[in-house]
């Protein structure tokens, strides 16, 4: 009986997740037919490396969306953290210190979002819209509107490996992405705070009545989102060799699309990291495909909009019963 229902549950969860997988497979098959360069090892690595940035951000956003929130500030956090890290690298600071400080900065900014939303009782959309605007402003002030190059110190070479390096023939950002996925999966599935994330998104009041400090869960969740945005900022900056003041603008939309295409409900409580990984891959492959197929830039928006709509239409949930 116990075994049986377990199977029943897993089967259901596989079913509910496999629609994004189907979209992904269709995309891959269609592309392989239309372009013979698509299904090559080197293109696969290219797609994965390009996907890594969106995937890392989307992982953080998965937490925020799972609690029924949203984080629009990811792109701005990415930009300011990228800029700060570039300046630190250029000044020759120790590489580990640079990474640590940058990640802590992102974590801190995310936690400020969390504070606004929990203690300040702001709606997540507007709170992170506020910090998005604010931090973009900070970035422009900090960079004076100009890119900051990472070069000019000994650290630079090491730092630039983060985004451009390879290990055993596979780009380092791909490892980072996989690592982030695994940790996030573990947290969400097997750790208390992960279960509280689902609980909070599904029923905040019940979670609170169960003696859980929901405020702390929120601060944690937005902290993660900020932390991962900072990580994405490091990858971007390292790949480009410079931090752009406008880096990350609009990234929140791609990341949200990845999360939702992956089957996570914007209402909270339902979703998985596996889904987000698939969603990010769909977006990544789509961008790659549009380039490979040389779709005119005017039509790219059309194509992207259609794929997003089809992907979510396929995966639409049963009418919610709440």
């Amino acid at each position: 009986m116990k075994k049986l229902s377990l199977k029943g549950r897993d089967w259901k969860s596989i079913l509910s997740q496999n629609k994004p997988v189907i979209v992904l497979l269709i995309l891959i098959v269609a592309m392989s037919i239309m372009n013979d360069r698509f299904l090559t090892w080197s293109n696969a690595l290219t797609v994965l490396r390009q996907t890594s940035i969106n995937a890392v951000i989307a992982t953080g956003l998965t937490f925020a969306i799972l609690i029924g929130g949203i984080d629009l500030s990811v792109g701005s956090v990415l930009a300011i953290c990228g800029a700060v890290s570039a300046k630190m690298v250029a000044s020759g600071m120790n590489i580990f210190l640079v990474i640590l400080l940058t990640l802590m900065l992102g974590l801190g900014m995310g936690m400020v979002n969390g504070l606004f939303i929990s203690k300040g009782r702001l709606q997540p959309f507007i709170a992170t819209l506020g910090t998005m605007t604010l931090l973009r402003g900070f970035t422009l002030v900090y960079t004076q509107g100009k890119p900051i190059s990472i070069f000019g110190s000994e650290t630079s070479a090491v730092y630039s490996k983060i985004g451009t390096g390879y290990f055993l023939g596979i780009p380092i950002p791909v490892y980072i992405m996989l690592f982030v996925f695994v940790i996030a999966y573990y947290i969400l599935r097997h750790m208390k705070i992960g279960r509280y994330t689902y609980a909070l998104g599904s029923n905040e009041e019940a979670t609170m009545y169960s003696g859980i400090k929901t405020d702390n869960v929120k601060i944690f969740v937005y902290g993660i989102s900020g932390f991962l945005s900072a990580l994405a900022g490091i990858i971007v900056t390292s790949r480009l060799g410079s931090a752009q003041p406008t880096a990350g603008s609009g990234y929140e939309l791609d990341a949200i699309a990845a999360v939702v295409i992956g089957g996570t409900s914007m209402a909270g409580g339902i979703g998985t990291i596996f889904g987000t990984a698939i969603g990010a891959l769909i977006i990544g492959i789509l961008n790659n495909a549009l380039n490979l197929l040389q779709v005119s830039s005017y039509y790219q928006g059309v194509a992207k909009g259609i794929v997003i709509l089809i992907a979510v239409l396929l995966d639409r949930k049963q009418r919610t019963s709440r």
């Binding site: 080197s42 290219t46 790949r239 490979l292």
Partner: protein, 287 residues
């Protein structure tokens, strides 16, 4: 967040009533090119003792119009506009005309309204310059990639137009033409994808340096030998050209445009007559 740089805030010279108040509406200050343009103007204004009010249109024509209206409210003596779009700026110019405030356009022209002077280097000409350079370098034959700016943006249109006109009648084929939205990170990933798709690429022309520098990273990583030509001659790009990485970039001398703008504005305010079109020369920065 220590270093404020040289310009920081403006609003110096507030006290003197005699100082001329000049408004500068810039299409965007998120792009180093226009930052340079602003810096040039600011430096000149400080030198000539004029008060410069700088507003940012954030690439939106409606915001631009609002900015001009707000400048009119402030009673500026002259408005310099760096339009987001030559057509759409018409209303803004008309608004200034209506308030009796003279207008000078920078970098992009206005297709309607009364403009005292237009100071620019021609985007179409710049595109052609880049095209001609590539044609010459490749000996009139080869495969090139064009990285386009934000679809629909005038700079993207005009630079593309000039570039393609240069290729006409040559054996050069544009094998890929994709947008990277003037963004360096997108320049990188779009170029990566194109590199996957195209076995043979001889040169890349990017509608701005940001995309060119992004593309350059992709090319470096691929280990292929490809000529990269950008546009704007931003600091990073010039460094890159000097280092022998980028082949060339079209220099528009944005500081010059800004400075010349203020210069011209002061002349107009002093009642001197000025030329309707003041070209700022373009030059190709090569190694």
């Amino acid at each position: 967040n220590g270093d404020e740089g040289d310009n920081g805030d403006n609003g110096d010279g507030n006290g003197e009533d005699t100082a001329k108040k000049i408004g500068l509406v810039v299409s965007t200050l998120n792009n180093p090119f226009f930052v340079d343009l602003r810096d040039g103007a600011q430096a000149k204004a400080t030198e000539l003792g004029a008060e410069l009010i700088i507003l940012d249109s954030q690439d939106d024509a409606a915001t631009e119009l609002s900015n001009v209206e707000d400048l009119i409210t402030q009673g500026v003596d002259l408005i310099m506009i760096n339009p987001t779009d030559s057509d759409a700026v018409g209303s803004a110019v008309a608004a200034a005309n209506g308030a009796g405030i003279p207008v000078v356009t920078l970098d992009r022209s206005a297709n309607s309204g009364e403009v005292e002077a237009h100071i620019a280097s021609d985007n179409v000409a710049g595109g052609k310059m880049a095209g001609d350079f590539i044609v010459a370098q490749l000996g009139g034959t080869g495969k090139v990639v064009e990285l386009e700016g934000i679809p629909g943006a005038s700079a993207a249109r005009e630079r593309g137009e000039g570039f393609n006109s240069a290729l006409e009648g040559t054996e050069i084929e544009v094998v890929a033409k994709q947008t990277a939205n003037f963004d360096r990170a997108e320049g990188l990933s779009v170029m990566e994808n194109i590199l996957q798709a195209q076995a043979e690429i001889d040169a890349v022309f990017a509608h701005n340096d940001e995309m060119a520098l992004g593309a350059l990273e992709a090319i470096k990583a691929s280990g292929r030998e490809i000529l990269v030509v950008g546009f704007d001659a931003t600091e990073d790009a010039v460094t890159s050209v000097q280092a022998g990485e980028m082949a060339a970039t079209v220099q528009q001398l944005p500081k010059e445009i800004g400075g010349m703008g203020v210069d011209t504005a002061m002349k107009i305010l002093a009642g001197e007559s000025v030329d309707e079109y003041i070209p700022v020369e373009l030059q190709l920065v090569t190694e």
